[in-house]
């Protein structure tokens, strides 16, 4: 699920008020909620500025050196010397931007090299780079599932998946989060001859839990559905070659499309889809979010390609990141915090707060004590939980994880929740 921290992932109809002239009146409830929270003297958790960024794990916020534990910068590639150098070189050689669509003047050598790196990384036939991960989901989903087709998806899917569904004309059928039986029941009831697309995520980013892909992909195939898996939060980290939960579960050859992003482990911005579908290349002409937008700047695709190639050989970093995840999970549990998963399943550890007030207060205590985490609150969160979402980095040292735990202990005691 989402990075959209104050919005539900699934778009909800907004109630209009007849006779209102101000189109903004539909936002009055959320304006009031926000003002109410800030009136208590609470620092705005959604208005933080990183004044300086020192490394993948450190920044200056409010003049204070802060440990970053909420960046999705899982593999710490943002300051990798080779990655930075590739970007500088491309900026010098190819300029600051392409000023054009991929299908017109916006495909440079770097875009092709980036797609080649992705094909090698995933060992797949086709790779298509989008300007963001959001657009990759929006574009692929809305284009391949059309009128009369069915999309069967997890209710906790990311906002970009829901928006892709909303933009297309397919019938949309959600099922309960990670519930294999609920998914199968729905597939069984869909007309046999209808086109079917099952959409799953490897790691769900709210609680950091992993999908039972082995079972779910098998069920989808049993009913003749195509399968799309969003591996945004697992690339570079989960699976032997870092190809994601699909690789770890041994089903990568059975999925039709993998969607990913450059804005997490890869350490820049952009999105992609890889596939072995023999007709996949036609997507470049029919997928509107690919066609009707400018392509990524040359420096971005150069940093992405360099980073992806380095991630192929990142097994030591992967091992260290798992250690960090295990240590943080155990440490927080020992301190008495309630966590989103019983065992660490990814590089995301979600700390469940009793309510929004205490969650916001805890967030503020952490930032004042020098630690940044993501505050996630209803309606973006499952079951209306307030979460402090921690995402670890392979560049966090063992000592840093210890410091993080000390800050959690100090802050939790200040707020009185442990």
């Amino acid at each position: 699920m989402s990075e959209g921290i104050i919005q539900p992932d699934q778009p909800e109809p907004i109630e209009g008020h007849a006779g209102d002239k101000d189109l903004f009146s539909k936002f009055d409830d959320i304006i009031a909620l926000r003002e109410g929270l800030l009136a208590t003297g609470q620092t705005d958790p959604f208005n933080l500025v990183m004044e300086k960024v020192l490394s993948p794990t450190r920044a200056i916020c409010n003049g204070r050196e802060t440990i970053l534990l909420g960046t999705y910068n899982y593999m710490g590639m943002t300051f990798d010397p080779d990655v930075v150098e590739a970007g500088k070189q491309a900026l010098a050689d190819f300029g600051s931007g392409t000023t054009g669509s991929r299908v017109l003047n916006g495909t440079y050598q770097g875009h092709k090299e980036c797609e080649e790196a992705l094909r090698e990384f995933y060992d797949m036939d086709h790779a298509m780079v989008f300007s963001t991960g959001y657009q990759a989901n929006l574009g692929i989903i809305s284009t391949i599932a059309g009128k009369g087709d069915y999309i069967i998806l997890d209710i906790d899917s990311h906002a970009s998946i829901w928006d892709g569904c909303a933009m297309g004309n397919a019938e949309v059928v959600p099922f309960k989060h990670n519930d294999i039986e609920a998914m199968e029941k729905r597939l069984k009831r869909i007309p046999e001859d209808a086109g079917k697309l099952v959409i799953l995520e490897g790691v769900y980013s709210m609680l950091g839990d992993v999908a039972p892909l082995k079972e779910m992909v098998a069920v989808a195939k049993k009913y003749g559905a195509m399968v799309l898996v969003d591996e945004a939060h697992s690339m570079g980290f989960i699976g032997e070659h870092g190809r994601g939960v699909v690789e770890d579960a041994g089903v990568i050859d059975d999925v039709d499309f993998i969607i990913g992003t450059f804005s997490k482990s890869v350490g820049t911005v952009g999105g992609f889809c890889v596939s072995n579908h023999p007709k996949f290349e036609i997507m470049r002409l029919v997928c509107r979010p690919y066609v009707f937008t400018a392509s990524l700047p040359p420096s971005v695709v150069a940093t992405a390609a360099t980073s992806i190639r380095k991630l192929m050989h990142g097994s030591n970093k992967r091992a260290h990141l798992w250690e960090n995840s295990k240590n943080l999970h155990k440490g927080l549990r020992d301190l008495g915090f309630k966590l989103g998963t019983e065992e660490p399943q990814s590089a995301i550890i979600a700390v469940i707060m009793p309510d929004l007030q205490q969650g916001a207060a805890m967030w503020e205590a952490l930032i004042k004590n020098g630690l940044y985490v993501n505050l996630a609150r209803p309606p973006a969160t499952p079951a209306n939980m307030t979460l402090l979402r921690c995402s670890l980095c392979a560049e966090h040292s063992e000592e840093e994880v210890g410091q993080i735990l000390d800050i959690f202990e100090k802050s939790g005691k200040e707020i009185g929740i442990i």
Binding site: P13, C165, E171, A182, R186, R189, N384
Partner: protein, 81 residues
């Protein structure tokens, strides 16, 4: 199954979700009167789908605002199934 039987069955399924004990008429709305949030809607719809062995897609759900419309939709879907 006729409309009255479908109505009776859905009323039974709605009961555990109707926390405030609102009296349900044909005009009762799910969002305003019953105050169902999106998670409640999902669980309620799943129960109906399982009971009648049908699918009510989100596209169809978007057309349904009140209880009467739901009974009509389910009645039609189960007759077609």
């Amino acid at each position: 199954m006729d409309r009255a039987q479908v109505d009776a069955k859905i009323r039974e399924l709605a009961e555990p979700f109707n926390k405030k004990g609102v009296t349900i008429t044909e005009e009762t709305t799910f969002q305003n009167d019953l105050e169902f949030d999106s998670l409640t809607v999902m669980d309620f719809v799943a129960d109906i789908e399982d009971e009648f062995d049908i699918i009510i897609s989100m596209n169809q759900q978007a057309e349904i605002e009140n209880y009467g419309q739901l009974v009509d939709a389910v009645n039609k879907l189960q007759a077609d199934a």
